[in-house]
Amino acid sequence: MPPVLLPAGPSLMLWADALDHLKLSQAELEPARPELEKYILPQGGVASSSPQPLRAVYELEVTSAAEPALKPVSGLRKVEFLARSVYRPNFAVAMQRAPASLARIAAIAPHVRGGIVTRPVTGFSIAEVADLIAGDLAA
């Protein structure tokens, strides 16, 4: 059975420089914390109350390469890739659930696409990175 997940709430948290880059004002936005220049950007709508199919997992990485790129992850490497994508894997270790967690990851792996998306620090467009992901999903 393909894996499913419960999506998070419909909002993003963006730092001040990201808002500047996207030409969005922070004046109307609520800070994530008073001490931080990080803001909650509502996306509209409501969180889905039903599980959604998990189609793919992408890891975003900043590198010294000149161009954005997407490298698919497959085979046994996908199991390792998904294992490091799990939220707080040490929690499973502390609860002595590491073997069960790994078994679940191995079961999920054949049903989802995996990819590592790399981008340079500067000199790229967000649309270019998004197109890479959209193209991979459509393949």
């Binding site: 730092w15 001040a16 420089d17 500047d20 994530a32 914390r33 001490e35 931080l36 220049e37 990080k38 900043v62 590198t63 010294s64 390469a65 707080r88 894997p89 040490n90 929690f91 270790v93 340079p120 620090v121 500067t122």
Partner: protein, 278 residues
């Protein structure tokens, strides 16, 4: 619970060279360790290490809050590790707002500190940052020097405080919280066997002549540059043409102006003299 060894230096002082030597010595393999797989000594300022150790998002914390928790994070990582952990660190040895060391002190920790002549370091730091040598010299003078400290931006690493070059050196060599083994970049170049053996001995690793020679050979500058040319180096900043640039001592004699030399000596002369550079 295991111990922690800090591989400490001001940036561009030979830290990565030491890490690669250690990775090769620890592996004991007959082929060089991949420079893109230096997992034996990760950067101490990686967000994911902190987040995973404490189960919180560092991106939700202020830099001061993170500083107050970093020692705890490393203690937890050590508690979970069956063997000694090695971390690369560019932070100066500083105290957090509570007056506690930023990094865990006490019997669990020790450090190897690599120093490099600031006259050569300025040239290397300029190339690494894609800046002028003048800018690099100014950065080395700043007592608030550091990296990833912009509060409007999520840095890929946690905030680091270098202080000035002189203060960085003194902070590590004069702190009394942990044992520290000082090494000089120039000695790593000129008398590698003796210098790297001293590090192996300090770490309590077996003194294996053959393994030592192989690890020194596998971490030679030419070998590292070849690896970088062939497959790149993921720790190279985008603005730097190459991470492994020249690997020499004394470049300052032809690359720095008399004014630049005088300025560096004026600001750092006392510590340079202490380290035998004057």
């Amino acid at each position: 619970m295991s111990g922690i060894v800090w591989l400490a230096s001001y940036p561009k002082s030979g830290n990565t060279w030491l890490r690669i030597f250690l990775a090769n010595y620890l592996s004991g393999q007959s082929s060089p360790v991949d420079i893109n797989a230096l997992d034996t000594s990760p950067l101490s300022d990686r967000r994911d290490l902190f987040d995973e150790a404490l189960g919180v998002e560092s991106s939700d914390l202020s830099a001061e809050e993170i500083d107050s928790l970093r020692a705890v994070a490393f203690q937890r990582l050590a508690a979970q590790s069956p063997s000694t952990l090695f971390f690369k660190v560019h932070d100066a040895w500083t105290l957090n707002a509570r007056g506690e060391p930023l990094l865990p002190a006490g019997a669990l920790s020790s450090a190897i500190y690599v120093a490099r002549n600031p006259l050569d370091l300025a040239i290397s730091a300029a190339a690494h940052a894609g800046s002028s040598v003048e800018d690099a010299i100014r950065r080395m003078e700043r007592e608030d020097g550091g990296a990833f400290s912009d509060p409007r931006h999520l840095g890929v690493q946690l905030r680091q405080r270098y202080l000035s070059w002189s203060s960085h050196v003194v902070s590590w060599l004069d702190q009394k919280s942990i044992p520290v083994h000082p090494m000089r970049y120039e000695d790593m170049l000129e008398k590698p066997t003796e210098t790297f053996r001293s590090a192996v001995t300090f770490l309590g690793l077996p003194d294996d002549e053959e393994r030592l020679a192989l690890a020194i050979r596998f971490s030679s500058f030419e070998g590292l540059r070849r690896q970088e040319e062939t497959k790149g180096f993921r720790e190279r900043p985008a603005v730097a043409e190459a991470f492994f640039r020249k690997g020499q001592a004394g470049e300052w004699r032809t690359e720095l102006s008399a004014d630049q030399v005088a300025r560096i000596i004026q600001h750092h002369g006392a510590v340079m003299e202490r380290l035998g550079y004057l």
